[in-house]
């Protein structure tokens, strides 16, 4: 039995750098395969809509813009960043990116073409 067993550690803490990162002044590095904002490659999309069918929150739309040409619209406020659409995509047209700073002032700006 000992009193103040954590005291040495706490005192040492006075002279060490803070363990926290001073975000946003210092950027946070996330892993390269972090599940952030989606990235879409229109040249690979065949419009099979598997991503739309499997999305748990109905956040993605695939819109036909021309003959064999598609664009993807993502509702970032609905997206739960699970990355299931990327797994469902048979042509790897969708993938996740490490971009996670997605806050905006207007909700309308959360519906984006990717």
């Amino acid at each position: 039995m000992k009193t103040g067993k954590m005291l040495p550690l706490a005192l040492k803490g006075l002279f060490t750098k803070p363990a926290t990162i001073s975000y946003p002044y210092q950027k946070v590095v996330v892993p390269s395969d972090f599940r952030g904002k989606l990235v879409f490659d229109p040249s690979k999309c065949v419009g099979c809509m598997l991503c739309v069918r499997d999305c748990p929150s109905g956040a993605i739309e695939i819109i036909k813009v021309g003959e064999k040409k598609y664009k993807a619209v993502v509702h970032l406020d609905k997206c739960i960043y699970c990355g299931q659409c990327c797994d469902s995509c048979v042509r790897q047209a969708l993938r996740t990116s490490p971009e996670f700073e997605l806050a905006v002032y207007d909700r309308k700006d959360l519906t984006v073409d990717i």
């Binding site: 039995m1 067993k5 954590m6 892993p31 972090f34 599940r35 748990p56 739960i80 699970c82």
Partner: protein
């Protein structure tokens, strides 16, 4: 002086989530306590019935932010049992690995919360600092700090590369050193022991009678662990010990959790040494054949139970979740009575409560007649139509799917 009844919660500084405890006091002493659940009902079970099995994984995962892997694995195990799909061994090992990493971060979190509840904020700060190591590791392995999304029907979504395995070993080594330090704190620091000893006592007999589970039961010397009793994933072939303690109080629960961390490191090292080669997932049918299954998982807080019923379609007919806090809620009321008012926060915190996981049911209560009554589906429908009609909304004549609704 007579007895005083005070409500703690649903909004209270000592509680991290809204829940109501009605405490009857005689002076400083608690003579009776009642737990009122139901402030966090989110209708997740019902929402599961409207989504496919694949979509349900991500919904189920969001039942709890801390033991998300526990819930999604329990659900997937049930679905895989109905569909008679056997996952590859490598997938079972990866699921087990993530499950143990989750247990590490959950127990570190609890240690911090317990320290915070008794005013030992130094412990809180340092244990949460160390928890960051495992959270960053999980982010690297799965792509997110919480809600890992590693599980999929028929296996896992991401493989563990040799570089990642080396990284895990490095982090585990650092965490093991820290855990030894915290074990020293929990078993030697006088202030902590005096605060935890004989607080929130739950004897072995009471724990069995009230159906306590997880570290609460194991601290009362009940050797009960789903990982040993009904092995799932890869636990059947992994050697580890079930930690028990005889203190049967908050100190016992602390020691059980910290010692369990040491077992976690043992399990993870075994997994990394014996990881089989092969596929990480197999094909899973979109439509799950008719049937029902019951699945158990040892979450960091205790036994997590999922029940899934399939009617042969791509959406489940019924999903039932029983979170470990539900099993421990009855013990909390027992543990609180006989103690002091100042012990209430730490006794509640000692079961590692997760109330939003727990709230799965609503109680229909007739406030005018003061009676508890259960309405079946047609009666509830008639009641709602009558209520709207009395309030000036008449639905008669409106057709929905070809049927009159009024």
């Amino acid at each position: 002086m007579g007895k005083v009844v005070i409500p703690i919660g649903p909004q209270h500084p000592a509680l991290k989530e809204p829940e109501n405890f009605v405490i009857t006091l005689d002076g400083e002493k608690v003579v009776a306590a009642a737990v009122n659940l139901g402030y966090n009902h989110r209708g997740i079970e019902k929402a599961c019935e409207q989504r496919t099995y694949l979509q349900d994984i991500y919904l189920i995962e969001r039942i709890c932010g801390i033991c998300s892997h526990a819930h999604s694995t329990a659900f997937i195990q049930a679905a895989e049992e109905i569909a008679e799909v056997e996952i590859p061994r490598r997938a079972a090992f990866i699921r087990t690995l993530i499950g143990e990493l989750e247990r590490i971060h959950s127990h570190f979190l609890w240690l911090g919360v317990a320290g915070h509840e008794v005013g030992f904020d130094t412990l809180f700060m340092y244990s949460w600092r160390d928890r960051e190591l495992v959270l960053d590791l999980v982010a690297k392995l799965t792509g997110n700090r919480v809600n890992y999304g590693i599980n999929t029907l028929g296996g896992v979504r991401r493989d563990i590369s040799p570089e990642e395995a080396a990284e895990i070993r490095k982090v585990i080594g650092a965490l093991e050193e820290r855990t030894k330090y915290y074990l020293g704190i929990a078993s030697e620091e006088t202030t902590l022991i005096s605060r935890f000893l004989n607080v929130g006592r739950l004897s072995k007999e009471d724990a069995l009678r009230l159906g306590a589970t997880g570290p609460v039961a194991r601290a009362a010397d009940i050797k009960r662990d789903v990982r040993k009793d009904d092995p799932y994933a890869a636990y059947g072939e992994i050697p580890f010990d079930v930690i028990t303690d005889t203190h049967a109080d908050v100190l016992g629960r602390t020691l059980v959790r910290v010692k369990e961390l040491m077992e976690c490191y043992k399990i993870i090292r075994y997994i990394l040494d014996n990881m089989p080669e092969g596929l990480i997932s197999v094909r899973f049918p979109r439509r799950v054949p008719e049937g029902e299954a019951f699945s158990r998982y040892e979450a960091p807080r205790g036994e997590d139970v999922h029940y899934v019923k399939s009617n042969g379609m791509d959406k489940p007919e019924r999903v039932k979740v029983r979170a470990p806090t539900m099993a421990n809620a009855a013990s909390v009321a027992h543990m609180l009575s006989g103690g002091y008012l100042a012990d209430v926060p730490i006794v509640i915190a000692a079961i590692d409560p997760c109330f939003s996981c727990t709230d799965r049911t609503i109680r229909v209560r007739d406030i005018f007649r003061g009676s508890d009554s259960v309405l079946d589906w047609p009666a509830l429908r008639d009641y709602s139509i009558r209520w709207y009609r009395e309030n000036g909304l008449d639905f008669s004549g409106i057709k929905l799917f070809g049927r009159e609704i009024g």
